[in-house]
Amino acid sequence: MIVCVKQIPDPALPGSLDSSTKTLKREGKLILDESDSYGVEMALQLVDKAGGGEVSLISMAPNGEVSGLRQALAMGAAKGVLVSDPALLGSDALTTAKVLAAASKKLGDADLIIAATESSDGYTGTVPEQMAEILGLPSVTFAKAVTIDGQTLKAERQTEAGYDEITCPLPALISVTAGVVEPRYPSFKGIMAAKSKPVETVTAADLGVTPVGWAGANQDIIDIAEAPAREAGEIIEDDGEAYVKVIEFLEQLKVI
């Protein structure tokens, strides 16, 4: 199994754009996108249930960054491929999908490729399905409960109104929603073991993907502006009677 993992700036810190490159600032340590920890956990569980197999990781990040990958390796993944290349700066989702699809091929044919539905920093939300198309695979996006029976995958897929029951032959690609499984905390032993697990670093050119970066993105950012802010309202500390303010506000709006 192959899991796509993104290493992102800590989402608890305010994000900002680099005004010269017009890309998200990714300085400093990157962490494993929490959304991807669900995919890692699911892959580990599915391999356990299958009674054999291996979980590999693929990731694309600047500056040879591996700290997020190590987190996933500490959970139990066996190895990883990192695509890191200054030329990739400004790449759009389609280029990212091409790069990750090529990286997955480097690991050989997987039975299942797992990704999150979208990253927590860029949230374009198209990369998994684009990878499936590039690799000629069937796909189930927004999968929650997932089981594998022989060469058939069964999944519940989120819909606007509820969920659908889907079957899909392997090999396949799925994107999984957060909360689908409980990601394990890496053990001390896992963290130590992760330090010596193999991570191969390659460039886009090594994978034969061109053009990349802004050159392949087919878009130009022409304006970045502050959104009109909402006017600050009234903030009060509850002294036991603050509910009256809520009632008055609802009355004023004629909701009650």
């Binding site: 994000g15 989702a93 389609l94 999908a97 539905t117 979208e118 949230y123 374009t124 939300g125 198209t126 990369v127 998994p128 399905e129 684009q130 198309e133 000629g136 069937p138 796909s139 189930v140 996006t141 519940e156 897929r157 819909t159 606007e160 109104a161 509820g162 659908d164 029951e165 889907i166 079957t167 899909c168 032959p169 957060a178 909360g179 993105a217 087919n218 878009q219 130009d220 950012i221 022409i222 970045i224 502006a225 502050e226 959104a227 802010a229 909402r230 600050a232 309202g233 009234e234 903030i235 500390e237 509850d238 603050a242 809520v246 009632i247 506000f249 609802l250 709006l253 909701v255 009650i256």
Partner: protein, 318 residues
């Protein structure tokens, strides 16, 4: 300019995201064509009313997921010679899958999460909110079309134009090979009673600050008293307290009610982008530094377990 709109139907009617996009497409000038995965017989009239002169329809998908099927049908029509300059899609589950596969088939970028679009000659630019909506980025497509753009629900107001029924043109799904392997076997609906979350005039949402699943009952009770819909933050949906259909936010529903009450919700970016278009926002949270207070019209710094029961009781006693 020739514009396609990926149209979706539910219960024999167009989804609101579809009629919003058709309305906007019409205002950009040129011709508007709808592309529908499924049978168009029950919606051809409505498509015409909203300005689509014709609709390409794949016919029944036979349980195939639309991502692979509809994108392949679109590619076949484009290869056949009818190539649009711009394809607008709703940022829905199906819309995402269709545009992703189509972007690979056409080798074109796709710009998602947009809230606005403008056309200047053959140039198309779209606007996307980032950082929880604090910053607006405007991007123009370069290179050759078709340009692919997806829009958040409720970005535009839907308005009928009063045209006659759209001409239905068959756009059959070609052989999908392995990519068509996923099949829908059963459909489950989780909607609750009362108004729909994305249409309700009042939305009462709960978050992790409720502390435990049983306390969500307060949210349900208050929503019912205000004839509104209950909603939830991603945190408690992920925790399994309420079904996904309750989720307000980036990956959930976009709501713009008259009144939004956020109880025990701190206001993660994920959540804020789904509700900051609400006309009036009331926030109750014990952390006075919570980001939700920055957009609240009325903010109560306090314990939801103390404030909400009093609000509920006061309304019940009226």
């Amino acid at each position: 300019m020739n514009i396609w709109v990926y149209a979706q139907q539910a219960d024999g009617k167009l989804t609101s995201a579809t009629t919003e996009l058709l309305t906007k497409a019409r205002s950009l000038g040129g011709t508007v064509t709808a592309f529908l995965g499924g049978d168009a017989s029950s919606v051809a009239g409505e498509l015409g009313e909203f300005g689509a002169a014709k609709v390409y329809a794949t016919g029944d998908l036979g349980g195939k997921l639309p991502g692979a099927a509809v994108s392949a049908a679109m590619k076949a029509v484009i290869d056949g010679g009818d190539s649009p300059s711009l394809i607008m899609l709703p940022q829905s589950y199906e819309g995402r899958d269709v545009m992703s596969r189509l972007s690979v088939k056409l080798d074109r970028t796709v710009l998602t999460n947009n809230i606005d679009v403008a056309v200047d000659g053959e140039a198309v630019k779209v606007t996307t909110p980032i950082f929880g909506g604090n910053t607006l980025v405007t991007t123009t497509f370069t290179g050759a079309g078709p340009f692919l753009a997806a829009f958040r629900p409720k970005s535009f107001a839907a308005e009928a134009a009063g045209g006659g029924a759209a001409e239905v043109i068959a756009a059959p799904v070609p052989d999908l090979g392995a990519t068509g392997g996923a099949t829908v076997n059963a459909v489950h609906v989780e909607e609750t009673s009362g108004p729909k979350l994305d249409e309700a005039a009042v939305v009462v949402s709960g978050g992790r600050g409720l502390g435990e699943q049983a306390k969500f009952e307060m949210i349900e009770t208050l929503a019912k008293l205000l004839k509104g819909a209950p909603g939830a933050s991603r945190a408690i949906v992920d925790a399994g307290w309420v079904p996904y259909s309750y989720q307000v936010g980036q990956t959930g529903k976009v709501v713009k009610p008259g009144v939004y009450i956020a109880a025990g919700i701190s206001g993660a970016t994920q959540h804020m982008v789904g509700m900051k278009g609400s006309k009036n926002i009331i926030a109750i949270n014990k952390d006075k530094e919570a980001p939700i207070f920055a957009i609240a019209d009325l903010g109560i710094v306090g314990d939801v377990h103390k404030v909400l029961p009093k609000v509920i009781e006061a309304i019940q006693n009226r």
